[in-house]
C-alpha cells in the first residue's frame, strides 16, 4: 500500500517545518524594528502568509488531502481575499475629500516614530 505509507510524514519533516516557522517569527519581529516605511506592512504580511501556508500544507496535512478538501479550504481563502481585497482597495486607493489622513501626514507620522 504505497499510498498508506505516503500519508505518514516523518518526525524530521515536522521539526524542519517548526524550525522554519520559528525562523520566520524571528525574521518578522526583527524586520518590524527596521523602519522601511510602507514596506513594513508588506514584509510583515508576506511573512504571515508564508507561515500560514506552512501550517496549512504540512501541519494540517492539506497537501495529502483530497481535491474536495482543497476546494473547501481554498473557497474559504478565496472569499477572504474578496472580502479584504475589495474593501481595502476602496479605502486604500480612493482617498475622497473627507478622508482624514493625507499621504503627507502619513509619512510625517512614520518619520516622527
Amino acid at each position: 500500500m504505497p499510498e498508506e505509507k505516503h500519508k505518514f510524514d516523518g518526525v524530521g519533516l515536522y521539526l524542519v517545518i517548526y524550525g522554519l516557522l520559528l525562523a520566520l517569527l524571528i525574521a518578522t519581529v526583527s524586520a518590524a524594528r527596521v523602519d522601511m516605511g510602507p514596506w513594513n506592512v508588506v514584509t510583515a504580511l508576506v511573512i504571515a502568509v508564508v507561515k500560514a501556508l506552512l501550517v496549512i500544507l504540512f501541519f494540517m496535512h492539506v497537501r495529502h488531502s483530497s481535491r474536495l478538501t482543497w476546494i473547501f479550504a481554498g473557497a474559504a481563502f478565496l472569499w477572504l481575499t474578496l472580502l479584504l481585497g475589495l474593501t481595502l482597495s476602496e479605502y486604500w486607493f480612493r482617498p475622497s475629500p473627507p478622508f482624514p489622513q493625507s499621504t503627507a501626514q502619513l509619512e510625517s507620522a512614520t518619520i516622527s516614530r
Binding site: T28, A32, I47, A52, F59, A73, W92, T110
Partner: protein, 234 residues
C-alpha cells in the same frame, strides 16, 4: 469492520475524508468570522492612522527580554502546533503513550498562552484602556500621550480619543474571541486526553484527534495574522 465504518460510508477512507471535510467546512466559516473583524480593523487603521499607531505602541510595549508578549505567544502557539502534529502522527501509528504525552504538552502550552494573554490584559488595565476602567478610576488619565499625538497629527484631541477608543474595541473583540477559541481548544484537548487514557483511539479510529488537531492549528493560524496586525505593524 462494520462497527468501525458507519453504514452510510463505503469504506474507512471515505469516512475519514467526510470527517476532515466537515471540519474544513466549519473552519471556512471561522476564516470569514475572523476575516470580517480583521477587515474592519484594517479599514479603520487606514482611516484613523494616528489612533491606531498610539494603540499599537501600548499593545507592543509589554515585553519580556526585549521581545513583546505577542511574539512570545506566537512561539508558544507554533510549538503547540508541532506537538499537535506529532500527536496526530502518533495516533495514526497507534502509539497512544506518545499521543497522551503530546496532548499534555499541547495543554500546557495552551494554558501558557492564556496566562501570557491575561498578563497582557492586566498591563492594558493599568494603562487605563480596558473597558470599564474609568468606572473604577474616574480621575485617572490613560497613560498614552494622546495630547501630544493629537497636536502632531493636527487632529482635535476629542476626535483622537474617540478613535483611540475604537482601536481598543477592535483589539479586545479580536483577541477576546481568539482567547475564547483557545479556552474551547483546551477543553477539547482535555477531553481527548481522557479518551486517550481510556484507550478509545486506534490507528483506524482516531477521527476526533485528527479533526480537533485541525481546529487547534486553525487557532494558531489566526494568531499568525494577529501578531503582525496588532503588534508589529505601525
Amino acid at each position: 469492520m462494520s462497527e468501525l465504518v458507519a453504514h452510510q460510508f463505503d469504506d474507512l477512507e471515505q469516512q475519514i475524508e467526510a470527517d476532515t471535510l466537515g471540519m474544513w467546512t466549519f473552519l471556512a466559516t471561522e476564516v470569514l468570522f475572523f476575516g470580517g473583524m480583521i477587515c474592519g480593523y484594517c479599514v479603520y487603521r487606514l482611516l484613523y492612522f494616528t489612533a491606531w499607531h498610539q494603540g499599537s505602541l501600548i499593545v507592543d510595549n509589554f515585553r519580556w527580554l526585549g521581545v513583546s508578549s505577542g511574539a512570545w505567544n506566537t512561539a508558544v502557539l507554533l510549538t503547540s502546533s508541532l506537538s499537535v502534529a506529532l500527536g496526530v502522527r502518533a495516533a495514526k501509528m497507534g502509539d497512544n503513550r506518545f499521543l497522551a504525552m503530546m496532548l499534555v504538552v499541547t495543554l500546557v502550552l495552551g494554558v501558557a498562552f492564556l496566562a501570557i494573554k491575561a498578563a497582557e490584559y492586566t498591563h492594558e488595565y493599568h494603562e487605563g484602556v480596558v473597558p470599564g476602567y474609568s468606572l473604577f478610576h474616574p480621575d485617572q488619565e490613560i497613560s498614552s500621550d494622546l495630547h501630544r499625538a493629537a497636536a502632531e497629527s493636527h487632529t482635535a484631541e476629542t476626535t483622537l480619543r474617540r478613535e483611540f477608543q475604537l482601536f481598543w474595541v477592535f483589539y479586545f473583540f479580536i483577541t477576546g474571541v481568539h482567547a475564547l477559541h483557545m479556552v474551547i481548544g483546551v477543553g477539547l484537548f482535555t477531553y481527548l486526553l481522557i479518551e486517550t487514557r481510556r484507550g478509545r483511539f486506534t490507528p483506524q479510529k482516531h477521527a476526533p484527534i485528527e479533526i480537533m488537531g485541525l481546529y487547534w492549528h486553525f487557532v494558531d493560524l489566526v494568531w499568525i495574522f494577529l501578531l503582525p496586525l496588532l503588534y508589529l505593524v505601525r
